[in-house]
Symmetry: C2
Subunit: 325 residues, 2 copies
């Protein structure tokens, strides 16, 4: 029997999935289980998205363009404008979830053996995509004592060598809920510029910032426009995890050209997902406000509750819908 | 500015996309263009699928399980039974199109530098997925003079070395329309057994076999059950290219375990696509018959027409909906 690949062995099993059998067993004993283990919002998907799906008037569910429908990409330009991110439709490539955006970013930018630096704790699947691309993740540790703020620049520089090709951040952060400050983002910009690195920035939680602090996107940083690869997804924003629609955004034409070749190989992102995601942009503002208010309530309930348990401490997350206790 | 990866450079641009600007230019000159360039059926998607989408009664479009919905996988067991392929639901992993099934098969089974042998002409994107996995495709040539039949066993054996890890076939074949005979499939089985190789078998065109010849699936071959990785997709079968639903099927638990780790990293296949694909299995037989009859008509029209052009010759394709002239 032929053996599987080294990569297949090295790939991490989902750490979250290990909890599932324990939860099932507890349920079997009659325990009520609250599933806080995965980023699966239970809030409703925008009505506009569901209506668009229900009113599909096609007779053939055909391939869409490999980079996604132009109409959707053009509408996204307006969405990003609201966050002071100035794009044109060609800067945006629609992917099968944010997951594919990370994979294609790594595949296009990193050679086997290349290293990227990631503040940890970090989203577990970055590691899986790095292994898929043969790349190596080096980590700088953020700590609960420092509220998960950006480690000192020296900590990054200690790790930088000739194989270092990029930095990856998640902002607001999954799983810490931390939001990088303007000062921290400028530090990252300076590092990226000094060592000529890629900056992969996963900003799928930008809707969920609970403090008055400004959202500083990697796309706001001046002088590194050609270094930035933005990772995005509608999964959390609109409770649309199942439609598998994300985006890879970059001003770098070489990166876009490489990413497009991976996109062409897999033919197209999901058709119906794009229809839903495009329609979601028409949902009244009220939707975002209600979703936001609900998360604010829940954050308060959870964090207050946690911190009332003797011996437990959780900082107040500034964004996203996670915390570390 | 950091440079893109070697892999990103090596990835092939879609050869088909090179034709698109020429077609556009011709249209600009007022020429009517028939698009024969991509495998995008214009026949209708099953009504059952469209109805299922229109009647979605969910309020949250949530993640589905990484291996796909159990209900869909159980129903697929019955579908394969009709082709004398005996599976249980756990042998079936739902993927984001057949494309992802090929990618995950390569990622899970092949190390960088490993070789697989593929009869050519072949589907162009196999090369792209091999490059993604760092694997190398070696080709054995099939010719129009021999009707694209399987090359002699010796041709395969000439290429086999210590890096050879598998054989990939597409049956019925894209782009030649050839259908491997029982004798040829047995030759492949013997090779796979003798050299302990994986057999990746892309059988997405099994519905479209136009001769009385039997369909011999890789899953029918005895004694190599642990070596076979079947690639499937609903794209062509149901005119559902846009929903991005495929499957990777294997009796090999080690391969399944590795593939599942790649599946968990990308979280889930498209939710609405699975709903459509599952509903398609309920479409009356009439749908398949009408689709089949239409392709038979078109095949006759195209092949007769081609062969009437002086200097042009096309063999009569036995399956799929392609030909080489």
């Amino acid at each position: 029997m032929p053996t599987i690949s080294i990569r297949g062995n090295e790939m991490p099993e989902s750490p979250i999935r290990k909890l599932a059998p324990l939860a099932e067993a507890a349920k079997g004993r009659g325990v009520h289980v609250y599933h806080l283990n995965i980023g699966q919002p239970d809030l409703p998907t925008p009505r506009a998205a569901l209506e668009a799906i229900r009113h599909i008037d096609r007779t053939v569910l055909e391939y869409s363009p490999s980079q996604g429908y132009r109409s959707y990409r053009e509408k996204l330009v307006g969405y990003y404008e609201k966050y002071d991110i100035h794009l044109n439709a060609d800067d945006i490539i629609i992917t099968t979830g944010g997951s594919e955006a990370v994979l294609f970013a790594f595949m296009s930018c990193l050679n086997p053996g290349d290293e990227i630096i990631v503040p940890e704790p970090a989203y577990a699947n970055y590691m899986a995509f790095a292994i898929s691309a043969g790349a190596i993740i080096r980590t700088v540790t953020t700590t609960i004592d420092e509220g998960f703020s950006l480690p000192k620049v020296e900590k990054f520089e200690e790790l930088i060598n000739e194989r270092t090709k990029g930095i990856l951040i998640c902002n607001p952060n999954n799983p810490t809920g931390y939001l990088y400050t303007r000062r921290e983002m400028n530090q990252i910009r300076d590092l990226v510029k000094k060592y000529d690195l890629f900056l992969f920035s996963d900003e799928v939680y930008r809707e969920f910032i609970y403090t008055g602090s400004p959202y500083i996107s990697a796309c706001h940083l001046q002088g590194i426009e050609q270094n930035v690869v933005l990772i995005d997804s509608v999964s959390k924003r609109y409770s649309e995890c199942g439609i598998r629609i994300g985006a890879l955004i970059t001003k770098n034409p070489e990166v876009r050209k490489a990413v497009m070749k991976f996109c062409q190989a897999r033919l197209s992102p999901p058709l119906i997902g794009q229809i839903a995601a495009e329609a979601s942009l028409d949902e009244p503002e009220e939707y975002s406000r209600e979703t936001y208010d609900e998360y604010v309530e829940r954050r308060k309930c959870l964090i207050d509750g946690l911190n009332r348990i003797p011996g437990v401490y959780s900082p107040i997350p500034m964004g996203a819908f996670y915390t570390v206790a």
